[in-house]
Symmetry: C2
């Protein structure tokens, strides 16, 4: 595989997903750091060369003039893992894995990750009135997402296909640090057991 | 392929994605209708048998006791299209297609689709104060998503891989009806030409 570079903020769970995927696959990854709180992913240079959407993570494949850039954490994980044991071989299970990854971006990340970002990094006192007004709805939606996962994981060791897959990696990222956003993981015992299973996987790396 | 049933609300762009994918592939699809405004996807029966997340669309594969249920529109499109000409053969292009599909669920749908739903279906007068307070932020984020697509489509006929793919189907769904949410498609000429290319594809079906 061509040289891989991860454009990232190490505090971001979306970036960590890609690091964990690469680690489990034994793929070397160069890391380039940006501070999103300082706007380092909104500079003209970043927008022109790395991601016009002004967001990290971005997986860079190759170097120099031929380098290609892949935004969106779950797409980057897919790129790294295609053909590996982190993606189920069965057609339905593969789509079911993607189902949990889309759920992650739509139902989980905007609530569980955003509250962590607002409360643990921006600070509640620095939020706008409009952000503060959204906290109860994001709290409820985040709890609903965690409850749905817990209900599923009470009956299955893994989210899709009966095996550790990208779905588990994607949802582990912000779930395991959800308490920084004010969620209580003790309320979700099946999630707790699942997090422990993931952390015990050979090759596992922790978030920085 | 086993019999396919789409659990849907015909007004939903997320449901339409699956219909359009099936039509382009020539796959027959039985349709079962629910009215989301009447809570028909939150009944105990729906939650227990179709989707514990209380959302449509859900693609049902097979019938009777062996039926399997796949929520998340983009995962359902993937299931239908795997191995077909709607998914690029090149590894990077395939991940890049998924990149636009995750962008759709994270940056586009919560803004462009939600404003259409609020303004054209719920009605501005029926919104909660908290919903109304979110309109400016959703308007700005929706315009940013459309601008990013327009910038990309000014230089490429299709979103990923130089071909019509699931990325185009996913983003077409709510983009082509964005004016119902108060967006002006005339501001995005490259999007206009791209929408016309999609509508001219053999096998294309319109939203109900």
């Amino acid at each position: 595989m061509e040289p891989l570079t991860l454009h990232e903020d190490p505090r971001s769970g979306n970036c960590y997903k890609i690091r964990l995927t690469a680690a489990l696959l034994g793929l070397p990854l160069e890391r380039r750091h940006y501070d999103i709180l300082k706007g380092e992913t909104r500079t003209l240079e970043f927008l022109a060369t790395v991601n016009a959407n002004g967001r990290i993570p971005v997986l860079q494949i190759g170097a120099g003039a031929g380098a290609r850039f892949l935004p969106e954490s779950n797409a980057a994980c897919w790129y790294l893992a295609e053909g590996s044991g982190l993606i189920p071989a069965d057609r339905f299970a593969r789509a079911d894995m993607l189902r949990w990854m889309f759920f992650e971006q739509y139902n989980h990340e905007p609530n569980v990750a955003t509250l962590r970002f607002w409360l643990a990094f921006v600070g509640e006192g620095n939020l706008s009135d409009q952000q503060r007004a959204q906290i109860p709805a994001k709290r409820a939606a985040g709890e609903a997402a965690l409850a749905l996962m817990d209900q599923h994981l009470a009956q299955a060791d893994w989210l899709a296909g009966g095996m550790l897959s990208l779905a588990d990696i994607a949802l582990h990222a912000y779930t395991h640090v959800a308490e920084a956003g004010g969620f209580r993981l003790g309320d979700y015992p099946a999630i707790g057991r699942w997090l422990a299973r993931i952390a015990a996987t050979p090759g596992f790396v922790a978030m920085d």
